[in-house]
C-alpha cells in the first residue's frame, strides 16, 4: 500500500478514537455535576417519590456505563434525545442551527483565509518596510479589540453613519441566498476582523522562515522577482504551519462565535448552547459538546493531512 494512504487511514482512525474519548470525558463531566437531570427537571417541586419515579422513567437508575452506551448507540443512529426544557428533538433543533453556524463560518472563512494569507505574503515581501508595518499594525489593532466592541463599532459605522446594512442578522428558512448574505454581512465583517491577524502573522512568519533557505537564494539568482520567489518557492514549503493556524481559526469560527451571535441576534449553535447551559439542559449540552469536538478534531485531521500531502518526501518516497 502507498504509505500515504496508510498515513491518512491512521489519522482518520486516530480522530475517531479521539472523538470517542471526548464523548466519554463529556459524559463523565456531566455525571460529576452535583444533582442530576431529574432534580433539574423537577427543581423546587421535587419530592423523594417524584424524584424516584422520574429517575425510573428517564433510566437514571441504571449504571453510568449502561447509560453511556445507550446514549452512544442512539447518537450513532442520529438520535440525540429530547431537550428537557421543551421536549424538542435535539437532533432536529441542532440541525437547523448548525446550518446557520456553518453558513456564517463559511462566509467568514472564505473571505478571511485568502485575505490573511495574501496580506501575510505581502507583509513578508516587504519585511520591515512600511507595508509590513501597516498590515501588522492594523491587524493587531483589530485582534486586540474585544469582538463585541468591534461588533458595536461596525454597527455604528455601517448602519448609522453609512446606513447600508441592518444591525440584526436574523435569517429564516425560505430566504434567498443573496438575502442571507446581506443579512450576515455585518457579523461576517466582524469575524473576519477577529481572525485575520492570527493567520496573517503565521503566514508572514512561516514565509520569512523559509526565506532563509539556500534554495531561495538560488531562485533570486535565477532572476525571479521577489513576489515570484515567495509565490513559487517559499509558499509551497510553508504550507504546513500556515494550514495548522488556518484550521484553528476555522474551528473558532464554528464553535467560538457566541458573542457575535448574541450581538447580532443570529440564531445559531453558540446561542443554543449557552441558553441550555443556563437552563441546565444536560442532554443538549452533551450533544452540542460532541458536535463542537467533532468539528475541532475533523479540522485538525484535515490540517495534518494537508501538511502531509504538501510534503513531497511523504508523497514520493525514495
Amino acid at each position: 500500500m502507498h504509505p500515504l494512504i496508510k498515513l491518512v487511514a491512521q489519522r482518520i482512525a486516530l480522530g475517531l478514537i479521539l472523538l470517542l474519548a471526548v464523548s466519554v470525558v463529556i459524559f463523565l463531566g456531566i455525571e460529576m455535576l452535583p444533582g442530576d437531570t431529574a432534580q433539574a427537571i423537577l427543581g423546587q417541586s421535587a419530592t423523594a417519590t417524584s424524584l424516584a419515579n422520574l429517575r425510573e422513567s428517564l433510566g437514571l437508575n441504571q449504571s453510568p456505563a449502561t447509560r453511556y452506551f445507550t446514549w452512544l448507540g442512539h447518537a450513532l443512529q442520529g438520535d440525540l434525545g429530547k431537550a428537557l426544557t421543551n421536549q424538542q428533538d435535539i437532533a432536529q433543533a441542532i440541525g437547523q442551527r448548525l446550518g446557520n453556524t456553518l453558513f456564517l463560518a463559511v462566509c467568514a472563512g472564505a473571505i478571511a483565509v485568502p485575505l490573511s494569507i495574501g496580506l501575510g505574503l505581502v507583509a513578508a515581501r516587504f519585511n520591515g518596510r512600511w507595508p509590513d508595518k501597516l498590515i501588522s499594525g492594523v491587524t493587531l489593532a483589530m485582534i486586540s479589540l474585544p469582538e463585541f466592541v468591534a461588533a458595536y463599532f461596525m454597527i455604528l459605522l455601517l448602519t448609522l453613519v453609512i446606513p447600508i446594512l441592518q444591525p440584526v442578522s436574523m435569517i429564516f428558512p425560505g430566504m434567498g441566498f443573496f438575502e442571507k448574505l446581506h443579512a450576515v454581512a455585518l457579523p461576517v465583517i466582524v469575524l473576519v476582523m477577529v481572525v485575520l491577524a492570527h493567520m496573517m502573522r503565521m503566514t508572514r512568519a512561516a514565509i520569512l522562515n523559509v526565506m532563509q533557505s539556500a534554495y531561495i537564494e538560488t531562485a533570486e539568482l535565477k532572476g525571479l522577482s521577489p513576489m515570484q520567489v515567495i509565490w513559487r518557492h517559499a509558499l509551497p514549503n510553508a504550507v504546513a504551519p500556515i494550514i495548522s493556524v488556518v484550521v484553528i481559526n476555522l474551528a473558532y469560527l464554528v464553535v467560538g462565535v457566541v458573542v457575535v451571535e448574541v450581538v447580532f441576534s443570529y440564531n445559531a449553535l453558540g446561542q443554543y448552547l449557552v441558553d441550555h447551559v443556563a437552563k441546565r439542559d444536560l442532554p443538549v449540552v452533551q450533544a452540542v459538546g460532541i458536535i463542537f469536538a467533532a468539528v475541532y478534531i475533523g479540522l485538525n485531521i484535515l490540517a495534518d493531512l494537508i501538511g502531509i500531502i504538501a510534503n513531497p518526501r511523504l508523497r514520493h518516497p525514495k
Binding site: E217, E220, L221, Q228, R232, H233, P236, R313, H316
Partner: protein, 543 residues
C-alpha cells in the same frame, strides 16, 4: 579577445552586528581586479573568509545578507552591472550569469520536481519554449552522466543522491545558455570518489558548451584540474594571479607556496604494539531498521598509536565510533579496552570506562555550549571526573590551554569569539582534560581550511607523543590519513575491506575499492583528472 567579465578594483563591505556590541564595519574584499574571457575558466582559491564566494556573487551583483559592493567596477559584456537597477539585475541573473551552489541538496527547492527547477530560468527569461527547454535539459542530464536522463527530471530532490544533485545543479546553470557560470565549491561536500566524476562531468560540460566559468574552491588540487587561470585570495585581497601551470609549479608568493606544499606532512609509522582497544566481530544496526550498517568489524588500536578509519559517507565510519563509545549498542561482537570487556551500552559502563574514551567531533561549533566560556567548557570534565575546584581547576585549565597552544586570556572567551581552528583546539583540550587513553576523532579536520587543519594534525601528533594517548581517526581524506595514521582500516558499505599497518595498506597490490579511493584524491598537477579516469579499475558507485 574582449573580456566577458572584468572586475576592476572591487571593494565589498558589510556590517556585522555582534550581539551586545556596537555594529562593526568589515571590508570583505579590497582592491581585487580580475578578468574572464569567453570560453575560459578562472579559479578563485583561498581559505574560508578570503572573499571567494563574495567575489563570485559580485559577478551577479548579489550580496548575501548585508553585503554591499561599495567600490570599483564589475563590467559584464562591456557594461557596469553595479549601475543596474533591480529590473536590470533580474534580467542578467539567470540569463547572462548563472550560479552553482556548494550544497545542491540545500539549493534545490524540496517541494518541486527537478525538471521544473532546471528549466525555470529558461522559461522565466523567455529564452525557449517549455518543450525546447526540456529537450535541452535532457541533453544536459545525459552529458553530465545522470542516470535515465529522459525521466531524471521527474524526480524530487530528495529522491536523488548528493552527487546527482550537484550535476543537476550544473545542468540547471547551463540550461539557459549563459555566458558565464559561477561554480561555488561544487564538489566540496561530496565524497572523494564522487567528486572525481562530478569534476569530470563539469569540466566536459564547460568544454562542450564553450561557456566561461569562475570556479571557486579551497582545494588547489581540484582547481588545477579545471581552471585556465588562478587568482589566489587571502583576507579579501589578491595574493597572486596567473596561469594555472605557473601557480602550481612556480608560485611566487609565500602564501601560495604554503598552499601548494600544504599536503606534505608525513608521519613515520610506529611499529605495531599491544592493543589498548580491541573491536572484535562488531555487528550493529539502527533501531527500527533491519539492515546491518556494520558487519563483523574487527580492528585493534595500539596503545599510544593512531588507527585511521577511512571511507566515503555512508560506509559506517562514524557508526563504528558510536558503537565504541556505547552510544549505539552493538548487536553482537565484543569491545575490549585495556584488557577489560566493555559493556555494549553506555549506561552500563563505569565512570572510569567513560573517562578513558573521549570524543572530538567534526563540527566544533555545535559540540560546545555557546553560552559557556572556554574555561567552563574545559573545566567541566575536570570537575566531573577528578572533582577539581577553584584554583586547582583554574590552573589545570590553563595548563590544558597551554598544551593546545592557546595562551592566557582564552578561558573567559565564548566559542563565538574563536576561529574554527581555535574551537577545534578547545574541543581537543576538553577531551584531554579527562586524561583518556583513547580519543575518537570524527572528521575533526574536515570543516577546516587546509593550513588550519595542518596545525590541528600537528597538535594531535605532539599530544600523542607527550601523553601517549591513542587515536581512532575517522576521515574521508587520504592526505590526512597519510599524515597521522599508524594503522589504517578502509571501510566500504559497513565492512572493513582493507586493514593493516599504514605502509602495507597504502602499498600495492590494491583491492578495487582502495584503488578507487586512492586514485580519486586530486593531485596538484594539471592533466591528473584525465589520466586517472583512463586508468582506474572500478567505477565509483552511489553518486
Amino acid at each position: 579577445m574582449a573580456d566577458l567579465l572584468t572586475i576592476k578594483n572591487l571593494r565589498i563591505e558589510a556590517t556585522a552586528y555582534p550581539p551586545g556590541e556596537a555594529p562593526r564595519h568589515l571590508v570583505l574584499v579590497d582592491g581585487v581586479s580580475v578578468s574572464v574571457q569567453k570560453g575560459r575558466v578562472l579559479g578563485l582559491i583561498g581559505e574560508s573568509g578570503a572573499g571567494k564566494s563574495t567575489i563570485g556573487l559580485a559577478a551577479l551583483s548579489y550580496g548575501r545578507g548585508g553585503v554591499r559592493l561599495t567600490g570599483g567596477q564589475v563590467l559584464l559584456n562591456g557594461r557596469d552591472i553595479r549601475a543596474e537597477g533591480a529590473a536590470g539585475l533580474r534580467a542578467l541573473r539567470g540569463r547572462e550569469v548563472t550560479y552553482v551552489a556548494q550544497s545542491a541538496a540545500a539549493a534545490f527547492n524540496p517541494a518541486k520536481r527537478l525538471m521544473a527547477q532546471v528549466i525555470e530560468t529558461s522559461l522565466l527569461h523567455k529564452l525557449m519554449t517549455k518543450e525546447q527547454a526540456e529537450v535541452r535539459a535532457i541533453e544536459l542530464f545525459a552529458k553530465l552522466g545522470l542516470p535515465n536522463p529522459e525521466t531524471f527530471g521527474r524526480r524530487y530532490p530528495h529522491q536523488v543522491s548528493g552527487g546527482q544533485l550537484q550535476r543537476a545543479m550544473t545542468a540547471m546553470a547551463l540550461c539557459p545558455k549563459p555566458d558565464l557560470v559561477i561554480f561555488d565549491e561544487p564538489t566540496t561536500a561530496l565524497d572523494v570518489t564522487t567528486q572525481i566524476d562530478v569534476l569530470a562531468a563539469i569540466k566536459e560540460a564547460i568544454r562542450d558548451t564553450g561557456v566561461a566559468a569562475i570556479y571557486i574552491t579551497h582545494d588547489l588540487a581540484v582547481v588545477a584540474q579545471v581552471a585556465d587561470d588562478i587568482l589566489v585570495l587571502r583576507h579579501g585581497k589578491a595574493v597572486e594571479y596567473g596561469a594555472t601551470d605557473q601557480i602550481i609549479s612556480t608560485p611566487v608568493q609565500d602564501y601560495t607556496q604554503a598552499l601548494v606544499s600544504v599536503r606534505r606532512i608525513d608521519h613515520a609509522e610506529k611499529s605495531d604494539a599491544a592493543p589498548i582497544l580491541r573491536v572484535q566481530g562488531i555487528t550493529a544496526r539502527y533501531r527500527g531498521t533491519d539492515f546491518d550498517v556494520l558487519q563483523s568489524i574487527t580492528v585493534d588500536v595500539a596503545a599510544g598509536q593512531t588507527l585511521a578509519i577511512v571511507g566515503e559517507s555512508g560506509s559506517g565510519k562514524s557508526t563504528l565510533a558510536r558503537v565504541i563509545t556505547g552510544l549505539l549498542p552493538a548487536r553482537s561482537g565484543q569491545i575490549t579496552f585495556d584488557g577489560r570487556t566493555l559493556s555494549p551500552d553506555l549506561a552500563n559502563r563505569s565512570k572510569d570506562d567513560l573517562r578513558q574514551v573521549q570524543m572530538i567531533y567534526q563540527m566544533a561549533d555545535t559540540a560546545m555550549n555557546p553560552r559557556q566560556t572556554v574555561g567552563t567548557i574545559i573545566g567541566r570534565p575536570l570537575e566531573f571526573y577528578f572533582g577539581l575546584k577553584g584554583e586547582a581547576k583554574r590552573a589545570r585549565v590553563q595548563e590544558l590551554l597551554d598544551q593546545i597552544e592557546m595562551g592566557a586570556g582564552f578561558e573567559n572567551r565564548y566559542p563565538a569569539e574563536l576561529s574554527g581552528g581555535q574551537k577545534q583546539r578547545v574541543c581537543i583540550a576538553r577531551a584531554l582534560a579527562a586524561k583518556p587513553k583513547l580519543i575518537l576523532c570524527d572528521e575533526v579536520t574536515s570543516a577546516l581550511d587546509p593550513l588550519v587543519a595542518d596545525g590541528i594534525l600537528k597538535l594531535l601528533l605532539n599530544l600523542q607523543a607527550q601523553e601517549g594517548v591513542a587515536y581512532v581517526f575517522i576521515t574521508h581524506d587520504l592526505a590526512t590519513v597519510k599524515a597521522i595514521a599508524d594503522k589504517i582500516a578502509v571501510m566500504y558499505r559497513g565492512k572493513v575491506v582493507r586493514y593493516g599497518q599504514k605502509s602495507d595498506v597504502l602499498a600495492p597490490p590494491f583491492d578495487d575499492y582502495t584503488d578507487l579511493l586512492l586514485s580519486s584524491v586530486p593531485e596538484m598537477k594539471t592533466g591528473w583528472l584525465e589520466s586517472v579516469l583512463k586508468t582506474r579499475k572500478m567505477e565509483s558507485a552511489g553518486n
